[in-house]
Symmetry: C2
Subunit: 449 residues, 2 copies
């Protein structure tokens, strides 16, 4: 019997991951900017004992706003508001390293970690879109440069999180000593991209380091993940691809002195759930009938960098090379999928609408649980990134019907193990790099005496 536990993340996305979700009677698109909508989702996910919830983000209005519900809330601002109505679930926000400063990012996640009692996580992205660069007055940096900056960014942020040792705050009112200044450290970081004096102006947080999450699957992306990430979201279509990715990523970790167990691989899955398979397929068809081809075409052009029009709908995807300065892994996945299954552009649109390249599984709760179990037990996943087609309905279905099935099979928790996101994910709390090793000797002396 396995003692591994499955880990589940609720990927929240407006009124659902299906691109036509906002047109489906199960959703209310006006709730896109309503905090109560997200609070309800957070409570549902916590009722299902999910490890965490996650908000994606981009720094530009992308996609055709005529045909999709865009223009929602900024993740970090939103997560604080979710922290106050939940007790256990982890709160993961996407923030870019390309258009931010490490001091701000370190501080905001430190604040969220305090506010949530140790439940903050950071999905680190490098911002692949040119539209994002144009909101910051610069040309989009090359792919390799973005990852080089991200690497130094992480060094600085983790130093800032370490700059207050755990026991820096003394709080001795009588002596008038608030903090032990010797346990608060400047970084004096002086690198290629950043010069940061430090220390942070927020004290050490419950988790020490908010959890580091990553979602880029290019070579640079995987190398970055192997070095820093503690959880990885990824889009994998087949079990074989999932296994290859899993082994590849974990295999890279030794180079950075890390064990495979220190990183969880969470492939995305969009579960379309029915009480019978027929019902699930009917829901899938309902959503597909609401797709607006012009919207899907524009999205596909954006993902692949190929200009596409209505005339292309019933032809195969044109041949192109896979190298680009944008999002390499997403582009490759889409092109591979079209080639492998010999899809016309129209059929490719249908396949992508559900999860933008993530795996869509329509079926009964048992069938969904089967899929999850097979991947989990065959070296393709440590858990899943759950992407409900509609929200809140699709998340409620998952929590009410798939979670109990996973619990019956002994794959998933019935109660939270602890209070922090690290405890949910079974990951250690890092020590501050500045903590004086001298104190261990002192301790030994005390123990020996």
């Amino acid at each position: 019997m396995t003692t591994r536990t499955l880990h589940l993340n609720a990927f929240l996305m407006g009124v659902g991951h299906h691109e036509a979700a906002w047109r489906h009677p199960r959703t209310e698109p006006a709730r896109l900017t309503d905090v109560r909508h997200y609070q309800q989702l957070a409570r549902v996910a916590e009722r299902g004992r999910l490890d965490s919830l996650f908000l994606a983000d981009g720094l530009a209005l992308q996609g055709d706003v005529r045909h999709n519900a865009l223009g929602g809330l900024e993740p970090l601002t939103l997560l604080s508001a979710l922290a106050t109505v939940t007790d256990h679930i982890g709160l993961i926000a996407t923030v870019s390293t390309t258009y931010n400063e490490p001091f701000h990012v370190a501080r905001k996640f430190a604040s969220l970690d305090h506010i949530s009692g140790g439940r903050a996580g950071w999905n680190i992205v490098t911002s692949a879109a040119e539209a994002e660069a144009r909101n910051f007055g610069i040309e989009r940096p090359a792919h390799a440069d973005r990852y080089a900056r991200a690497t130094e960014f992480l060094e600085v942020v983790t130093k800032l999180w370490d700059s207050w040792e755990d026991d820096a705050v003394v709080g001795d009112r009588r002596a008038g000593l608030y903090a032990d200044a010797g346990r608060i450290h400047p970084l004096d970081h002086d690198g290629t991209h950043f010069r940061v004096r430090g220390p942070l102006n927020t004290s050490r947080t419950p988790q020490g380091h908010p959890l580091l999450v990553q979602a880029g699957s290019s070579q640079d992306g995987k190398e970055f993940a192997a070095r820093f990430a503690e959880a990885v979201f990824t889009a994998q279509q087949t079990l074989a691809e999932g296994q290859e990715f899993y082994a590849d990523l974990k295999g890279r970790m030794a180079r950075y002195g890390r064990n495979p167990g220190e990183l969880l691989v969470l492939p995305g899955i969009s579960p379309i759930i029915g009480s019978t398979e027929r019902e699930a397929l009917r829901l899938e068809k309902e959503l597909e009938d609401l797709i607006i081809p012009a919207y899907g075409l524009a999205q596909l052009s954006h993902m692949t960098g190929i200009e596409l029009s209505h005339d292309d709908l019933d032809r195969p995807l044109p041949e192109v090379s896979v190298e680009t300065e944008g999002a390499q892994s997403r582009r490759k996945l889409v092109i591979d999928l079209a080639r492998r299954e010999n899809l016309t552009v129209r059929r490719l649109l249908g396949r992508l609408a559900g999860g933008r390249g993530h795996r869509v599984v329509a079926g009964t709760p048992e069938q969904i649980a089967d899929e999850i179990q097979v991947w989990f037990e065959n070296g393709a996943a440590d858990g899943f990134n759950i992407m409900p087609p509609t929200l809140p309905g699709g998340l409620e279905d998952f929590v009410d019907h798939v979670v109990p099935e996973l619990q019956i099979r002994g794959l998933f928790r019935r109660e939270y193990e602890g209070r922090t996101l690290r405890e949910n994910y079974g990951l250690a709390r890092p020590a501050s790099r500045y903590a004086a090793p001298a104190r261990d000797e002192e301790l030994d002396a005390v123990v020996a005496s």
Copy 2:
């Protein structure tokens, strides 16, 4: 009879504004990073029907952490968590224009405005301290350059807030039309400091523009306030100074086509409240006895730019010029105070400990209300920035004893007038600059037909 209403802001600062607050038995310094502490403060302020609450901020650990409770939370992250436990009170966060990008700032305040149902406000600062520059790898820009950047920053942010017209979101599920793309506008801003394409990726917010607040009192600061600010926090020690500042600031507004009523001047006041005057003075003395001279000296050196040591304690403040690249108005206020009242450095420290240069008034609720009324009715204030010496105790005293007195005098509201911060402050909701005037003609045509 006057129909003007007093406006009151609760300035929240850790466990109190008095620099020795953390040592006083009425506070719990461990609550500095506890969100429940701030939630309690927000609820108390809302119970008192205060217009807003406000969080200051700096981008470096400043002051001597050995002797003061530093290392708290980042304001924007915290305010979202306060939005969810309150219904009416405005939520004002400090964010710097010197070390941020307009796109991020516009978006975060837009999110907070959505999350709070129209209660967000931005205290715009230019970051006077050199320590802040060192966390962002640059030399601190000159005073005038900081304000020049701030001016363009505001142009960009307000354009971003306007980029979605009020009725841009259509939400027509049947037609598959989510938004009217013709009512979402790129800015194509191309200026000296910023190039920003836009539009924002968050839809138009309840207030249209989150409220603009400002707190710099140098010449550049006042000019900036006259142009953009809708509320101004300021430190004024005497009624005459208060009147002069008030007239000066309001007098500058016509130049920007604004009326004096479109900006509220809110001087700071730290009320030390007792049921008798003797009790108030005893509390003041208790706090003074907890001051650590070394801490005050370092703070004073920091504020004035003059190096000071214990040897200086019983001498007058050395002569210096007032021009500096740091915070000009605070420096001037402190130097003027020392000269006007002929204070030794030690006595100056006592005067500053209560409110870092803001007016401290110790007395009964009636005496505090008298002070407030005199300034309010004699052209020195539209309201006050309340800076309780200890928190939560000092805020509870104000709400339970001073607020009722102000209500009895007909100076302050008994119930909130509306739901947004603009409604609390009696300020109009701005229209989007991009809203097509053509539609007025259409309307005229409809009316005429």
